[in-house]
Structure formats: structure tokens, C-alpha cells
């Protein structure tokens, strides 16, 4: 992988950026983040509930969960893109030690695009249909890097070429509908990379694309992280994508992280029954055929509030009495942090042996 034109993909750090002092903590530190949607006359909805994680430069962190698990809202909160009204955000989000929650709009606008950028799921709805690709890519360059129109369009063309769009000069004049899905997603990535951000958040970047195009985009992201040390937050429901890309994975369920682990332990020996259930329920291309799937019962709507117990309890095969009476905390068990009263046994040990321990 990455032979041939790899040296051409020069998306490295902008050299000599002023005002940067030595800082050795994580690039992004999210601590006890909570997001509550409020509406008059309605019960509050807590979409994200005490989520904490950190990303170091050059690291890829995955947020995995089904629809409604709060993974996208987490990303929007980090980017400061949640609407001002009807939303309560708590906890802390620090980028290189600087608190982003409560930062001024001006400051956030300076950071967004330059220090952190986001790639959304559907490139058709996140690109403006009546503005040409060129303008959408160059506006970032002109806003943050003070380029003239001419400089910016030269830079934009080279950005498009680097992400694998043929004939970039002509494409700059095209409108989003003239590009195919894969090309639109590449254009979106190009504009997210325009200022060489230190943090890139990708929210389901390949879900709307075909698998062969998905492979192209994932390889591009992999190359980017390897060669420029960008920190990548990858939000997806596809465990296959996570397995090939992420260093650390946080599995979310109903607004809380239920399991955090480096990818090998996570896939090798999942500890939370939800993670285990997800892995057992997807057919694998390389598994022997005819092995039955073991689905998780019920649907993601069958939850109980975290205040009264474990939200996953109604669907869980490993439920014990404690699950419906009190909420488990995120505890370190071996390589993973697990939020469960009765986690799956680690590999090589039977459930019985574990009960003896307890």
C-alpha cells in the first residue's frame, strides 16, 4: 500500500505555525461530556451522557454505535456545531489544553477548519449545491490562510489532485451534482484538509458509498494519519471499518460509552455483552458458511434510562438482577474499560471460573 505517489501526499503540518508552545498532553481531551436536548413541554432527552476520551496526534480513535447511540452528537459537540438554543452541554472539551465549551464564536470559527475539521456522512447534503466545488474548497484557504483568490485556486487544485480527483482544474468549476458520490466525498475531504488540521472528525464518511469507493477513501485516511500525524476521530457503525483503521475504540450505547479498548482486545475478546453481541450478529466474509448468526434480541429502542439501571439490560443475554436496579460504572478490566455488572469472561476462562473469583 502507499507506494508510487505517496510522497506526493504532502499533507503534513503547516511549518512554523506561530504561538504554539510545547504541549505533551493529548491533542483532544473530552471529559464527562453530556448533551441534553430540552424542549418546553417535553421531557429532556440526554443524547450524550458522561462521555470521556482522548486522542493523541497520529492516533485514530473510533466511536462505534447504532443509530441513536449519541456518537454523532458527540462529534457535533466537540466541533461546537450544536445549536445554541434547546441544548445543554456539560463537561469539558479541550483541544491542546484549550477549553472549547464556552469559547467565543469567533475563537471557534478560527479553530474550525484550521485546527479541526469535520467530514460528514452525506456529501450531497453537506456541500452547497449552488456553489461550485472550487469556491467551497478555496473559501477555507482564504479565510484561514489569507490567500488571494489566485493562490487559493492553485492550492485547491493541488488538494483535489492529492485526494485522487482527476482533472482538478476543470473540477473546480463543477457543482456538486456533477460529481459522483465518491468524488464528492473526496472533495469534502479535500476541503477539510485544506488547512492541514490537527484533528479530523469523520462522521460515517463511507456509509453512503459503494465498497470499492469506501476502500479508496479509507486508504486515503490511513495514509493521511500515517504521513501527517493528524489525529482522526472516526465515527461509524461498521465494525469492519473500525477493525482496519482505529487504534482505540469506544463503543457507545444509548448515550454512554459501554466499552473502551484497543482494537485487538476489543475484537479478540469483547467484554461487554453489547460488543460481543454486535460481533456475533454480523456475517463475516471469511467465516465458514452455514454458521448461524446470533442476533441481539429486540431493537435499539428497547432501553431503560441509565438512572435506573443498564440501558442495554432489556436486550442483554447476560442480565443479572443488578442490571435493572442500578447503573454500572465504567471499570477497568484487563485491557478494556467496561460498563457492565456481568461482563463476558476474558478469553481462556470459563464463566464458571469467573464466578468463583467473584
Amino acid at each position: 500500500m502507499g507506494t508510487g505517489t505517496s510522497e506526493e501526499l504532502d499533507l503534513g503540518q503547516a511549518p512554523g505555525r506561530p504561538g504554539r508552545t510545547a504541549y505533551d498532553g493529548p491533542l483532544l481531551a473530552v471529559d464527562d461530556l453530556s448533551v441534553t436536548f430540552t424542549r418546553r413541554g417535553r421531557r429532556d432527552v440526554r443524547a450524550v451522557d458522561g462521555v470521556s476520551f482522548a486522542i493523541r496526534p497520529g492516533e485514530t480513535v473510533g466511536l462505534v454505535g447504532e443509530s441513536g447511540s449519541g456518537k454523532s452528537v458527540t462529534a457535533l459537540a466537540v466541533m461546537g456545531l450544536l445549536p445554541g438554543r434547546g441544548v445543554r452541554v456539560g463537561g469539558s472539551v479541550r483541544l491542546e489544553g484549550e477549553e472549547l465549551l464556552g469559547a467565543s464564536d469567533d475563537r471557534l470559527r478560527d479553530l474550525r477548519g484550521r485546527e479541526m475539521a469535520m467530514v460528514f456522512q452525506d456529501p450531497m447534503t453537506s456541500l452547497n449545491p449552488v456553489v461550485s466545488i472550487g469556491v467551497q474548497v478555496t473559501e477555507v484557504l482564504r479565510r484561514h490562510r489569507d490567500m488571494t483568490r489566485e493562490q487559493a485556486s492553485v492550492e485547491a487544485a493541488s488538494l483535489l489532485r492529492r485526494v485522487g480527483i482527476p482533472d482538478p482544474v476543470r473540477r473546480l468549476k463543477d457543482y456538486p451534482h456533477q460529481l459522483s458520490g465518491g468524488m464528492r466525498q473526496r472533495a469534502l475531504i479535500a476541503s477539510a484538509l485544506a488547512c492541514r488540521p490537527r484533528l479530523l472528525i469523520c462522521d460515517e464518511p463511507t456509509t453512503a458509498l459503494d465498497v470499492t469507493i469506501q476502500a479508496q477513501i479509507l486508504d486515503l485516511l490511513r495514509q493521511l494519519v500515517r504521513e501527517s500525524g493528524t489525529a482522526l476521530l472516526m465515527i461509524t457503525h461498521d465494525l469492519g471499518v473500525v477493525a482496519g483503521l482505529c487504534d482505540t475504540v469506544h463503543v457507545m450505547y444509548s448515550g454512554r460509552v459501554v466499552e473502551s479498548a484497543p482494537r485487538r482486545p476489543l475484537f479478540g475478546s469483547p467484554r461487554h455483552p453489547y460488543t460481543g453481541g454486535l460481533l456475533a450478529s454480523i456475517p463475516r466474509l471469511d467465516a465458514p458458511r452455514g454458521a448461524p448468526l446470533h442476533p441481539i434480541q429486540g431493537s435499539p429502542n428497547d432501553t431503560i434510562p441509565w438512572e435506573t439501571g443498564c440501558a442495554f439490560a432489556p436486550r442483554c443475554d447476560h442480565r443479572v438482577d443488578a442490571c435493572t436496579t442500578s447503573a454500572p460504572a465504567l471499570e477497568v478490566r484487563g485491557h478494556a474499560s467496561v460498563r457492565c455488572w456481568n461482563p463476558l469472561p476474558p478469553p481462556g476462562r470459563t464463566a464458571a471460573a469467573q464466578e468463583e473469583d467473584a
Binding site: 500500500m1 502507499g2 507506494t3 508510487g4 505517489t5 506526493e8 501526499l9 447504532e66 443509530s67 492529492r162 485522487g164 480527483i165 482527476p166 482533472d167 459522483s180 465518491g182 468524488m183 459503494d210 465498497v211 470499492t212 469507493i213 469506501q214 476502500a215 479508496q216 477513501i217 486508504d219 486515503l220 490511513r222 495514509q223 457503525h237 461498521d238 465494525l239 469492519g240 471499518v241 473500525v242 477493525a243 482496519g244 485487538r264 475484537f267 479478540g268 453481541g277 454486535l278 460481533l279 456475533a280 450478529s281 454480523i282 456475517p283 463475516r284 466474509l285 471469511d286 458458511r289 448461524p292 448468526l293 442476533p295 441481539i296 434480541q297 431493537s299 435499539p300 429502542n301 436486550r315
Partner: protein, 363 residues
């Protein structure tokens, strides 16, 4: 593609031919222009000459990327779109030439499950009414009365009897898909065509529906054509898999063979592009990246339709000679001039196939 080459080899039980026999099926959609008078300026060749056999009681999986014509093929088999050419023989009767009442009667034996369970159910129709409509349309009186029939159907697909009086919005996606499946089996059909039956569902729910489809096949002896873009799901449920590219079948094989020894360059690339939820496998495997996008089916490339993106493309034959679907092993048909050479490793993919930033050549 000529209809004489490559005998379809889906294994049928002795004495009975295949349930479904498709020969030379083409579906071309006209592209019209003009304000007052419609002028046909071209055709989108959605399906362009497909031959396939589906054995009784088996599952045939159709995979391919969006725009490859797999859904149109499924619809043409049911004559939900009119085929431009070719025959669709269902249990010995050519469906493509049936008309009026005869077609309507034949349709009773072939049903469809749609992708999006929200838009394929009428939001103002109760579940009971959804399940009884097929009976009314075909003038069938169920044994033991309508209520018992509805309850039996709901029970078979794993929904409570109380679901009968409720409306689609009251159900989750997985439950709605169960209703769609119950509707499809209401008339006790022989053939069910499922178009992306699980792709709109949450990951944890997909397996429930896949298992349900398998159980129903066992109980009712159904024959399935499952259309999906997710090769892992298709391989799990299918006995035979057909891989489509730009309106044509490029490879067909028993599903274990297809995974073990994919022969067509497109299948090889497709397999290598599918992420597998196992870090060890992901780190080891070598991905073959396809450059660019699917060409337009209105103006397909000459010769082999895959040659514009093929990492194994050769100087000769690929650009100007349409490859025939040849039988290389029992039940394994491949449409590639160089399939043997690719299988033996005598032809290796181009270096650009391993680089995400390679710029595809413009066509």
C-alpha cells in the same frame, strides 16, 4: 452476450428443472429529450443480457455496486418493469410473454420484499389490512378464516398477535421488515425476491431478519433471490452467487467457491475491499483498490465493461472484445478473457491498484 455460451449450472433436483430460468434478459430504459415531442436520444442499459438459473428451494444471491442493474433485474423477473428482450421462465411458463389475467395469476406465486420497510408499507393501513390485501387481490379465502390467517402469519415472522390492529409507525425498523416479509409469504408463494432486505436496518437487528429468512425457507420450502450490495450478507444466505457489473453477470459460482477462489478481477477487488471485523485479518490482507467510479450504463465501455477500472487489464482483447461467460469449474462461470492467467498468478495487478491517491485515467 450470446445466449449459447456457458451453460448455467445451478444444481437442480433430479426430475425437476430450475424454478426460474432467465435467458438473454435485457432491460433498456430510454433517455428522452424534447419539450413537445419526445425524442429518444439513447438508452440506459440497466440489464444487458443476463442468463441465470435458480434451482428450487435454493437461494440465489445477486451482488454488485449501486447502478449495476441488480434491482432492475429482480424487478424485471417479476415484470414490475418490462423487459426489453429475453425470456423469464418461471416453472416452465414464460412470464415475459404473459398478459392480463394469466400474468396476475402467475404473480401469486412470486412475491417481493423491499428494502425500505417504511416506504413499502402504507402508513394508513393497519397490519391486518396489509396482510389480507394480497388475499383479496387474488380472491383467496384462507383456511380457518381471516383472523386465524393473520395471526398465523404474524406468528411465523415472530410478531405478537396484538400487532394486527396496529399501524406501521408503531413498529421499529426490524419489526416493519417482518411485516413486509409476512405480506410476501401471505399467498404461500414459491419464489420470493428480496431486494436489500436488511440494509436499512441497524446492525444488531440485521441478523434477526437474516435468520428469519433462513427459517422461513426451511419451513415453507421457499426459493429466494436475494439482491444486496453487502457480499458478507449475501454469502451467508446464498447457495449460488451472481456478481453483476454494469448490467452484466461477470461471475457466478457456488457461494463457498466464490469466496475461496474468486476468478473475475472485479470479484477479486470487491472481496478485497470489504472490511472484515478482525484487526489481524485487516492488517494482513492486501487490498486491491479500483480506480474511479462505475462508468455510465448509458454509454458502457467497449469490450469488457470492466476494463476501464480493471487492475489486471491487458493490452489485447480487453478493450475491444466482449468476454463470454465461460464455465471454468463445475458451477463456476466467469466472464474474463484472462481468468486462467489471473488465477495462476501469471497476470498481477498494476501498481496503481495499491495507492489510494492514484488518479484514474479519464475516459
Amino acid at each position: 452476450m450470446s445466449e449459447t455460451v456457458g451453460e448455467p449450472t445451478a444444481s437442480a433436483p433430479a426430475g425437476a428443472g430450475p424454478l426460474l430460468k432467465v435467458r438473454g434478459l435485457k432491460v433498456h430504459f430510454p433517455i428522452v429529450k424534447g419539450v413537445f415531442v419526445d425524442r429518444v436520444v439513447g438508452h440506459v442499459r440497466a440489464v444487458d443480457g443476463v442468463d441465470l438459473d435458480v434451482a428450487r428451494g435454493s437461494t440465489y444471491g445477486l451482488v454488485g455496486e449501486s447502478g449495476c442493474g441488480k434491482s432492475t433485474l429482480g424487478r424485471a423477473v417479476l415484470r414490475l418493469v418490462e423487459p426489453t428482450a429475453g425470456t423469464v421462465e418461471f416453472d416452465g411458463v414464460d412470464v415475459a410473454s404473459l398478459k392480463g389475467e394469466a400474468l396476475r395469476r402467475e404473480r401469486r406465486r412470486m412475491q417481493m420484499v423491499f428494502q425500505d420497510p417504511m416506504s413499502s408499507l402504507d402508513p394508513r393501513q393497519s397490519v391486518e389490512s396489509v396482510l389480507l390485501e394480497p388475499l383479496a387481490a387474488h380472491g383467496v379465502t384462507p383456511e380457518g378464516g381471516k383472523d386465524a390467517h393473520v395471526r398465523r402469519l404474524l406468528d411465523v415472522v415472530g410478531l405478537p398477535g396484538s400487532a394486527a390492529g396496529r399501524y406501521p409507525h408503531e413498529f421499529s425498523g426490524g419489526q416493519r421488515q417482518r411485516i413486509g416479509i409476512a405480506r410476501a409469504i401471505a399467498l404461500n408463494p414459491d419464489l420470493v425476491i428480496a431486494d436489500e432486505p436488511v440494509s436499512a436496518l441497524d446492525v444488531s437487528v440485521q441478523a434477526q431478519v437474516v435468520n428469519l429468512l433462513e427459517d422461513l425457507q426451511e419451513q415453507l420450502g421457499l426459493t429466494y433471490v436475494v439482491i444486496a450490495h453487502d457480499l458478507a450478507v449475501v454469502r451467508h444466505v446464498s447457495d449460488t452467487i451472481g456478481v453483476m457489473y454494469l448490467g452484466m453477470l461477470v461471475e457466478e459460482a457456488p457461494s463457498d467457491d466464490l469466496y475461496a477462489t474468486p476468478r473475475h478481477p472485479y470479484t477479486i477487488s470487491l472481496m478485497s475491499a470489504i472490511p472484515i471485523p478482525d484487526p489481524d485479518v485487516e492488517d494482513r490482507r492486501e487490498r486491491i483498490l479500483l480506480a474511479g467510479d462505475l462508468p455510465s450504463p448509458a454509454n458502457p465501455p467497449s469490450g469488457c465493461r470492466f476494463h476501464t477500472r480493471c487492475p489486471f487489464r491487458q493490452e489485447t482483447r480487453c478493450d475491444d472484445e466482449v468476454p463470454a461467460l465461460r464455465t471454468l469449474a463445475p458451477g463456476h462461470r466467469v466472464a474474463c478473457h484472462w481468468a486462467e492467467e489471473v488465477a495462476d498468478g501469471r497476470i498481477t495487478p498494476a501498481a496503481s491498484a495499491f495507492d489510494a491517491t492514484a488518479v484514474p485515467t479519464e475516459t
